[in-house]
């Protein structure tokens, strides 16, 4: 048995196509084989019931309508998804009160009349197959079947209870809008629309996932976003042969360029003004139904250090904060490694007095430096995870108490030196400055620590170069992920956030079409600047 397994693995490795993969792909089309809607109402209803076998929330109501109540029809909807008020008011009441004029009416004309004039609902669709009818019911619409007519009407009556727009916990902000996305797709697209009132903001709907049929909306500014990226996103999403999409995280993994990299190459955010900002820079937003996290593609490494407040506060302060975040990111990855290499390999770099203080602290501690730091970082990760998983009130208490006790007890018991606790605390705190890259930072930190415990500062230097090169090799939808230090024009928004009135061009590597963001005008420093300013031709003209 073992040999056979090895042979199969070898054959797989040698010829590369995993043949077994294709046999198992069964066709999961069970419920679509039900076929078309027939003329007889009862037949249709019983096939519908056969489809939704023992699902208690499917409501079917038969009624008679027409002048002399000669026609019979039925209404089918899922209780909870469809709002009962729309079903009764907008659908049942008009049909029943409808008085047909004289003359014989064929079933087909009745359906047309109903859909055009009688029904008060906003969106009515004529459907001929059972699968569409079932799909409509499942997404909250009401299906109207008429005896003798082979078409059914699917009326939009979505009305489940939604969460109201609230402030997102993950991205708290001092200045700037506080509204965050909700789980409902329509509210999210509406929030973005309110930010960018421009007909060129395209919203294309896609449905993905055989079992879950999740709605995904691609939003991009036509003329600003790069067509190639839009095509690529559309191509990758529409070709997803997957079972289920429950959160935008699924989409992120399926369509990103480097599936195995610890770095996320697709940005996700919960705030509409962030998405609006990124759309204006030429990116494509992917709004997934059922999750408040909207993906923005393509993402650059620099976006880790850009927060919304940078653009709302003073440019000077914002630039200093951005540099602080960059140093924090460097510290959170390299601080433990540098500490190890300084105390275990190159003691001569430390000034003499500092060396003696560290030597005093380390006197008698049992573990070598590398193991000591590894233990402390490991316990810090446990504490952080505990802090997140527990309910909010308890979480805060746990992390503080844990840190205090752990640090204090370990030092006094002589297990760990005080400088080690300080370094790990510094690393932990600085990792909170770049929340998006938290998980990748903790992975890379361990790798570089191992390197530094083997080769000291040389290992750290090689680790830094490897990280730099690896980042350089990543692309996000064809666009260089880490353009860092390259001689590009959009340095205006990287390490330093230049004042808004100087940022005339959109980022060169993302936007393609209309590049000018705002006409270059002298800042209103001169007293008379306001009068003579005729901002007639703005960045783009609204037809």
């Amino acid at each position: 048995m073992l040999i056979e397994f090895i042979l199969r693995k070898l054959r797989f490795l040698l010829d590369g196509n995993n043949s077994s993969y294709y046999q198992t792909e069964h066709k999961d089309r069970t419920y679509t084989s039900v076929g078309d809607i027939g003329n007889n109402l009862d037949e249709n209803l019983c096939s519908l019931k056969k489809l939704f076998v023992n699902s208690s929330d499917l409501k079917i109501h038969k009624f008679k309508f027409g002048g002399g109540y000669e026609f019979s029809g039925a209404v089918a909807f899922i209780d909870g998804l469809a709002s009962s008020s729309t079903v009764t008011e907008a659908i049942l009441r008009p049909i029943i009160e409808w008085q047909p004029e004289e003359g014989p009416l064929s079933m087909r004309e009745i359906a047309d009349i109903l859909s055009e004039s009688v029904l008060w609902a906003g969106e009515v669709e004529k459907v001929s197959t059972m699968s569409k009818l079932a799909g409509g019911c499942l997404s909250g619409d009401t299906a109207i079947l008429i005896d003798g007519c082979c078409h059914a009407l699917v009326v939009n009556s979505k009305g489940w209870d939604k969460r109201s727009v609230a402030e997102p916990e993950s991205e708290t902000v001092v200045r700037g809008p506080r509204e965050g996305f909700t789980e409902n797709l329509r509210t999210n697209t509406a929030l973005i629309r309110r930010k960018i009132k421009n007909p060129k903001l395209r919203t294309e709907m896609l449905t993905v996932g055989r079992k879950t049929q999740t709605d995904i909306c691609l939003m991009y500014l036509d003329g600003v976003a790069d067509e190639k990226v839009v095509e690529k996103v559309k191509y990758r999403i529409s070709n997803l042969k997957v079972d289920s999409i429950l959160e935008s995280g699924y989409i992120e993994e399926y369509i990103e360029d480097a599936p195995f990299s610890p770095f996320a190459t697709i940005g996700s955010t919960e705030k509409p003004d962030v998405v609006a900002g990124r759309l204006l820079e030429g990116r494509v937003a992917i709004v997934v139904d059922g999750t408040p996290f909207v993906l923005t593609v393509p993402m650059l490494f620099i976006e880790i250090f850009q927060t919304t407040e940078d653009y709302y506060t003073r440019p000077l302060y914002a630039s200093i904060m951005r540099m602080l975040r960059m140093t924090a990111y460097f510290i959170t990855i390299f601080a433990p490694a540098i500490y190890i290499s300084l105390t275990a390999f190159h003691q001569e770099l430390l000034p003499t007095t500092l060396l003696f203080t560290i030597a005093n602290a380390r006197e008698g501690t049992p573990f070598p430096v590398f193991l000591e730091i590894l233990i402390m970082i490991f316990s810090y990760e446990i504490l952080r995870e505990a802090g997140i998983r527990l309910p909010r009130a308890v979480g805060q208490a746990v992390s503080i108490v844990g840190a205090l006790i752990m640090g204090e007890a370990a030092t006094s018991a002589g297990l760990v030196g005080a400088p080690v606790v300080i370094t790990v605390a510094l690393t932990a705190v600085s990792s909170f400055l770049v929340p998006m890259q938290n998980e990748s930072a903790s992975i890379i930190r361990i790798l570089i620590m191992i390197l530094s415990s083997i080769l000291g500062l040389y290992g750290v230097a090689m680790g830094f170069l490897a990280l730099l090169l690896y980042l350089g090799s990543l692309t996000s939808f064809g666009i260089d992920f880490f353009a860092g230090f390259a001689w590009t024009r959009n340095l205006q928004d990287s390490a330093v956030r230049m004042p808004l009135w100087t940022m005339v061009k959109r980022p060169a590597n993302i936007a393609r079409g209309d590049m000018t963001r705002r006409r270059f005008f002298v800042p209103p420093l001169r007293p008379y600047a306001a009068e003579e300013e005729d901002d007639s031709e703005g960045g783009e003209d609204v037809e």
Partner: protein, 404 residues
Amino acid sequence: MIRKAVKMLNRQRLSLIATVLLASLLITLLSGCWDNRELDSLFIVTGIALDKAPDSDLITVTLQIGKTESKTGASSESGSQEDKNAIILKASGRTPLHGIKRLNFNSSRSLFYEHNQAVLFSSELAREGLKEYLDFFLRDYESRMEVPVFVTDGPTDRILAVDLEQEQSAGMYLARVIQDLSKLSPYYKVRMLDFLSRTREETVSALIPMVAAYDEEDLQKLQICGMAIFKDGKMLDSLNNYETLGYILAMGDVKLIGIEAQSEKGHVIFNTINLDTKRDVKLRQDGGVQVKLSVEGALGIGELKGFNGMDFPKVIPELTKMAEERIKEQIAETFEKAKSLEADIYAIGSEIHRKHPKKWEQMKSSWGSVFSNIDLTVDVKVEIPETGKSMISLEMEGASHEDR
């Protein structure tokens, strides 16, 4: 399309497995971490001293180790000699390294020289010549080039074992003292590199500060007591603090030094604001060398005594004349001593070597005698811009009243 995606996935998955394997192998392969020296497995040397062994012709190497006591009460390494803040290790051998190697057998931790603060030679050893003992400091990776060098007046272990209340160890104390002195003038601080480069030039003689330990009631104190003169690695003689001042003034770039002048009218101490010396070396036809030192600078009056009955406008020229006299006298005095010892401590030889290389070839062999009959002219031009807070001293008070 799917086949391509799957192939891409296979390739990526394969390369991931391989890199993980390679990395893990790298770790096992390299887990030797050769250079890893834990801090608590080190003896941090803060002072090295070489001395003549009392009886045999060996030398004793004394290492001063900074003591690290752990606050957490864990076991502390007991040095061979109970001492409050420094452990002293002693060993004797034919050369420094030979002695140190013998030390390794009885000490539990490896020696670490990077943080060495001072290198001391005892004067007897210095008199016999240090050249053959310098090679260890030149060749060893861990010995630093910018470590200050000292000659001790008497046996070195007494200096290193001195128990100072302020500093952690004598080595650090000496480094601090020299650091402050170098603020007065850079020529006080003699680093290993300067000593090496001067010993390498056969004609130039090096100067090294001398240290002496003296007892004050029960406390032991360290004090810099002048400079030792070396020629070709051998110590000839030493300059006391007063003569060293003359040498410092001759070399120039002097700050904060106190200059004392005495005359029948009164006594004054100046604080040097800055004094710089321009040196002009000319070769005479008859093979002799003529050196002209021109000293300029500014002095501030630190303290006045006497000059009673003189008003301020008359005192200043008097003081200037006294200062210029004094400086000229001091420089000449030290120069005389250097000439008597035929020790070119001013590195005039290397200056000639640089400026007139061809003539230098002939003079090189007989440089001792040429140096001893150099005729030196010193002219000093000093002004006294600063007189401190008060202009006139109390004794001078009476005179100004009568004039008005």
